[in-house]
């Protein structure tokens, strides 16, 4: 069911979606992206982003967009230390995908 929920994010140029656990393991994925190398790095990255968000007066980060020449990576925190990540191809529409991520965040959290 998690794969189904993540599949809803594969729109507007999104090529892969995953949920990475706080232990750095892939808890579920959909699409064609390879998350095996990235998932173990996500918990530490989330810690650094939460620290920076704390510097800005927030309890934690609400989202991260990583811009790169070969695509865009969108990430959002989930309850329990999980992180939702979506990889977009170049020229994709991050705004549309980000909206779908927010819209489906509760659904994804409920099926983990």
């Amino acid at each position: 069911m998690l794969t189904f929920a993540l599949g809803k994010l594969l729109i507007a140029g999104a090529i892969g979606a995953c949920v990475a656990g706080p232990d750095g393991r892939v808890r579920g994925e959909a699409g064609a992206a390879d998350w095996e190398a990235a998932a173990p790095l996500i918990p530490a990255a989330a810690v650094s982003w939460n620290s920076l968000a704390g510097d800005l007066g927030a309890d934690g980060f609400a989202g991260v967009l990583i811009e790169a020449g070969g695509g865009v990576l969108l990430m959002m925190p989930l309850p329990g230390g999980d992180v939702l990540a979506v990889l977009l191809e170049p020229g994709a529409n991050p705004g549309r995908v980000r909206y779908e991520m927010k819209k489906n965040l509760d659904l994804i959290a409920s099926v983990i």
Binding site: S51, D55, I66, E67, A68, G69, L73, G95
Partner: protein, 235 residues
């Protein structure tokens, strides 16, 4: 509160794609009990129109469109058509409303029972107005701070610095993002945009450290990305 969904009169069990149900229930009033693997759910149908969906698997419950989309994603489902009287249908609709299952019975004005507000998505995507109809914002509209990290020293170029902001955190966030971009083979790293409930921090690496822009929350993501692109040539 209605405690149980009416059983109705079962017309038998069969297996077919969910689309079969839509095309064979033009005069049907009742519930379709649906079974997928270990999960079970139902649809309420009033003469060809599916008014409510719910599906449960273990502790997970999908309601409304989420349940509909999940059931439609299955090649075939096992189901049982259970015929209702009007009174039973009304009790079933009441059960749905009591249990947070959206009911879209426009013909009888029973439309209500949205998901709890905390989980309800906005009705429409936030759409930015066309660029041509939007007054051109000033270069600093919504921007709270522009700063540069030279090593661990934060030099504020304009605006005011949040009290707790440290360059070490900005550089660590950039490095984390750069490492992740490499791990998913996303190509050359350009920068990172960090969103909090109240604002957006845009940060891009430079030879000496990083340049960052703090902006108000609620700015369209396209404009934020433009800000990131705008600060990159300064590297």
């Amino acid at each position: 509160m209605t405690t149980t969904l009416p059983e109705g009169t079962s017309l038998g069990m069969m297996e077919a794609p969910l689309s079969w149900v839509y095309s064979h229930t033009a005069r049907f009033l009742g519930k379709v009990r649906i079974f997928v693997q270990e999960g079970e759910g139902f649809m309420l149908i009033r003469r060809g129109e599916a008014l409510a969906y719910c599906f449960r698997h273990g502790s997970i419950t999908l309601r409304g469109n989420a349940a509909k989309e999940y059931l439609l994603s299955q090649d075939a489902v096992k189901f049982s058509l259970c015929k209702y009287t009007e009174e039973e249908f009304d009790r079933a609709a009441a059960w749905c409303r009591d249990h947070g299952v959206p009911v879209h019975d426009q013909g009888r004005a029973v439309q209500e029972a949205a998901l709890p507000p905390s989980s309800a998505p906005p009705a429409t995507p936030p759409i930015s107005p066309p660029v041509s109809s939007r007054p051109a914002p000033g270069p600093e509209a919504g921007v709270l701070m522009v700063a540069e990290c030279l090593g661990t020293d934060l030099h504020v170029i304009s605006g005011s610095r949040p009290a707790g902001l440290a360059c070490s955190r900005v550089l660590a966030a950039i490095e984390s993002a750069r490492t992740l971009a490499g791990a998913v083979h996303a190509g050359a790293f350009s920068g990172v945009i960090l969103e909090t409930p109240d604002g957006v921090l845009i940060a891009a690496p430079t030879e000496e450290g990083a340049v960052c822009v703090l902006a108000e929350g609620g700015i369209p993501i396209g404009r934020v990305r433009s800000m990131l692109a705008a600060i990159m040539p300064e590297r």
